[in-house]
Symmetry: C2
Subunit: 364 residues, 2 copies
């Protein structure tokens, strides 16, 4: 028995690297770029970039914002970082600083803005709209570009809406649009369409460069396939208290759980303040490694900011300080997301941002 209070976030960089290598293999001849936006989905962009750069020779990166690209450009003088949200008045200084931070231009207005900056030491990427209806030049905007404009771009980019569903009609719709635009306007520059999910759709989608993100972090981005990726994130927290419930006792905020009989509960030192979704209230699961293997307990009552409570009546052995496992390879963030009614991307992004975690990177 131990007395412990702090939750632990383990990030397995070896597995992340293995995932990257599998994805690179699947991607054939396409250049494998790494998507490290949103602090590498919360896992720590610095560590992830170091690992990919040093151990797998990754030189191309994607971030959402220029401010995310800056530290990479400063640290590695041969890394190229594409910025998906592009350039604006609030990021001009960063782009002026480094010729290896490349904006992805997503609208004709942004293009005019970029041209006025007269930054001529790099060729920006152009994002074109093919069906997602998010960022990107619409066909009529492309048609409005001069020949000289078109020649200034160095990479053609679009993004799939339904790459996670192999047979979704949108995939054919988007690749057809993309190839038409490429052929008509951008036949001479490299093209990128696929993020992690698109990689599994084959060479036609892989084009010249793939943007490897979620799958590298262990997420199953192609859920119609069994997940080939290794698990990267483990979340655990100590049991702070074990107590008995009498029949009729309530648990947690708003008294949303009532014991139908005698129960044994464990209070675990982690909550939504640490990124555990509150929607797991009365629904989620917590696991314990015992002599019998991995045993499963149900979350009861509301998930609160710092604690979550589970019913350990049927767990063969639980003591104070034991590691309650919120997520591991047998119950990945994909599994947690299914129970929470969301996607693992969202949970991962939240978990990784918490300063209170004891954060452990596993690496060779």
């Amino acid at each position: 028995m131990s007395i412990l209070t702090r939750a632990i976030l383990e990030i397995n960089l070896n597995n992340l690297l293995d995932n990257y290598r599998v994805l690179r293999e699947i991607s054939g001849k396409a250049i494998p770029a790494a998507v490290v936006k949103d602090d590498a989905y919360g896992l720590g962009a610095e560590k992830v970039v170091d690992t990919l750069y040093e151990r797998a020779n990754v030189r191309y990166f994607f971030t959402a914002h220029a401010i995310e690209a800056l530290p990479i450009a400063q640290k590695y003088d041969d890394a190229v970082i594409y910025v998906l949200q592009g350039v604006g008045e609030d990021s001009v200084d960063i782009f002026k600083n480094s010729s290896r931070i490349i904006p992805v231009i997503g609208s004709k207005e942004m293009w005019q803005f970029w041209k006025k900056l007269k930054i001529v030491d790099r060729r920006p990427a152009i994002q074109v709209e093919t069906g997602l209806n998010r960022l990107g030049f619409r066909e009529k905007d492309i048609a409005g570009l001069s020949k000289d404009d078109i020649q200034q771009f160095g990479l053609l980019l679009s993004h799939l809406a339904c790459g996670d569903e192999k047979d979704h009609f949108m995939n054919e719709h988007q690749i057809t649009n993309f190839e038409a635009i490429k052929q008509k306007y951008f036949a001479d520059i490299p093209a990128t369409l696929a993020a992690s999910d698109g990689v599994f759709l084959g060479w036609r989608f892989q084009q010249d460069m793939v943007r490897l993100g979620a799958a590298m972090y262990g997420i199953n981005t192609a859920p119609y396939r069994q997940n080939q990726m290794k698990n990267v994130v483990v979340v655990k927290a100590p049991v702070l208290q074990i107590a008995d419930l009498a029949k009729g006792d309530f648990v947690g905020y708003s008294a949303t759980y009532r014991a139908a009989g005698m129960r044994k509960i464990a209070v675990v030192s982690i909550g939504y303040g640490d990124g555990i979704p509150r929607s797991l209230s009365n629904v989620g699961k917590i696991f314990f490694r015992t002599a019998k293997g991995v045993e499963e307990a149900r979350i009861i009552g509301r998930v609160s900011m710092d604690n979550v409570i589970c019913d350990v009546s049927n767990i063969s052995k639980v003591e104070l300080g034991d590691e309650a496992i919120l997520s591991d390879e047998f119950y990945t963030l994909d599994d947690m997301a299914r129970d929470a009614g969301t996607i693992s991307y969202e949970i991962m992004s939240r978990l990784g941002k918490n300063k209170r975690f004891v954060r452990r990177y596993i690496e060779d």
Copy 2:
């Protein structure tokens, strides 16, 4: 028209202070302590503590973890910080460092652990269980304490399950339990039962100290009352793109929105990576300040990591770079939480942790 890319989080410390003062007034003679756990609900513990300490003479603070208490103790040599999750092997060093970091002892095992440390320069708090069934000594555990043990505690603490519902039977149940325990074992030391919600239940619940958290941050913790609190958090992000949809066009991941006719959409540079709940997909609202006042647009399609899309067909005027308002006093985080199917505490805690925001503190 401007080209901008970064989202903005505004935290109004003046309003936070005003809220604190209102709550202090309502709390009568009770000592008003400030709850700054989880990085002050994500709003930045350092800034919040500075403001409360310097402008309102707050000297008592509550955190969840010792690691959150440490910077406060180091900066202010007359601040007292109670640590709600208590002490463990993973936080002993911090407790040894400062006599003003006080553990809230929540179990008899933790009490044995604390005694063995022989830290005698402070009196810990004791948390007792009165109905929440989370952390705290159960009655039989209290009965097992020696007289000498009992005299070593300096504060009696418990926590309400249903303080946000004035007439909930649990309130009477818990206050009765609390008063009985106090009278029987801890009549000589101060007692604290109420967090923000309990403050509104009157003097009997306020006891000797109140723990002001959520309400101070603007959350309506007593939703049966109109919110007396001023709004503290404003979230906004620039419009990155405006585009037309044709009838039948789909929007966003998994093509969950299909245009029934011609539409005008705006792509806003903020997403779940910044803390906007993905459950606002096809449900949430985004606002624009125009000459006509505050106009409302619906979120369409899935909220993605870096972007959210809304239907601006009926907005009188929207241009690139305009501020899309995700939350302000007319649509607080409480309102957003209702649409997202959660509570504002969870959203606030997420929003505040994002490094990508341009973070602005408003203060005199």
